[in-house]
């Protein structure tokens, strides 16, 4: 025969159930959240594959990289290509001093988004000596 619970026992059981229901609620009641945004901007590179327009000096390159943000300034990325149709073998940030040291011959043209330029570079190869290689230039302005 099953033991029968009296009214007092039922009240006690209900109280226990209520407390049990509150325990997990109390834990999550402390939880707080905040939201942050992760953001990246992919910009369209300007591809220049031949000499264009006006000559560009190393100073102009320097100013375009170092000037305040605007349509005439930005970063220049030189993508060195081993030969026509080859995939890029290396990418470097064009810095003023290497540009001057390597004696780049440049041309420039004013585009809608600012100064663009194309250069031919005399690349230095430590093992095989100096060699002229075509370069493709990706220019990304602010």
């Amino acid at each position: 025969m099953k033991p029968r619970l009296g009214p007092t026992s039922w009240v006690a059981l209900r109280c226990l159930a209520a407390v049990a229901a509150l325990v997990p609620a109390a834990g999550s009641a402390w939880a707080v959240s905040a939201h942050g945004i992760a953001m990246a901007t992919v910009i369209e590179p300007i591809q220049v594959n031949r000499l264009l327009g006006l000559p560009a000096s190393a100073l102009e390159i320097y100013l375009s990289q170092r000037g305040p943000a605007g349509p005439q300034t930005g970063s220049v990325l030189i993508r060195v290509i081993g030969g026509v149709g080859d995939q890029p073998v290396a990418v470097q940030r064009a810095q003023p001093s290497p540009v001057q040291a390597q004696g780049l011959v440049g041309g420039a043209v004013i585009l809608d988004r600012g100064l663009a330029m194309a250069v031919m570079a005399s690349m230095s190869d430590e093992e095989q000596g100096h060699d002229d290689k075509p370069v493709a230039i990706t220019i990304a302005f602010n």
Partner: protein, 177 residues
């Protein structure tokens, strides 16, 4: 009732009382309660990768906001939004550990275009980053009432990644252990 019986009852009662007091014992228990300061969390800074040109590679922002590249070049260029790691300030009770749950988006999205995204973070007593480029600590016990969660991430940039501003929402949840 006879007087003799009454005496017997009185003696018996006295004996019972004496026996009861001889077995009495007591102890003490301490009731304690710790009042915790309700937790708070505030986002101070979003995570920004800045401007990027498409390329097969990854771009990482560590918890100090420094950017690094890997793989076959995903050129990152100057301009655009300033680089930054995400920063959250957590308020609560000193020396009381809490759990950290971060829910990052699988991708940063721009329209129908995506870049895979992974997050890492560190929790600190000061806002000065270590910094780190990996790690997903699940708990932290702050020394003081204020602590910080600095969050960085890595995105994978495709060779022909479409131009656009890619965003995703990161949720950071903290809860007392």
């Amino acid at each position: 009732m006879k007087p003799t019986s009454l005496r017997h009852y009185a003696v018996l009662s006295a004996l019972l009382l004496a026996a009861a007091s001889a077995q009495a014992a007591s102890t003490t228990a301490t009731a304690t309660a710790t009042v915790l300061t309700p937790m708070t969390i505030t986002k101070n800074t979003d995570l920004s990768f800045g401007n990027i040109v498409g390329g097969n590679g990854t771009v990482t922002i560590d918890t100090s906001g420094a950017r690094s590249l890997a793989g076959n070049t995903a050129p990152a260029v100057s301009g655009g939004t300033a680089l930054s790691a995400a920063k959250f300030t957590v308020g609560g009770t000193a020396s009381q550990g809490y759990a950290i749950t971060v829910t990052p988006p699988a991708n940063l999205s721009s329209g129908g275009n995506n870049m895979a995204f992974t997050a890492f973070w560190e929790a600190l007593d000061t806002a000065t980053p270590t910094p780190v480029s990996s790690g997903t600590p699940a708990t932290f016990t702050p020394a003081g009432a204020t602590s910080y969660i600095l969050l960085g991430g890595t995105i994978t940039v495709g060779a022909n990644q479409a131009a656009g501003t890619y965003t995703g929402t990161i949720t950071v949840n903290v809860d007392y252990n």
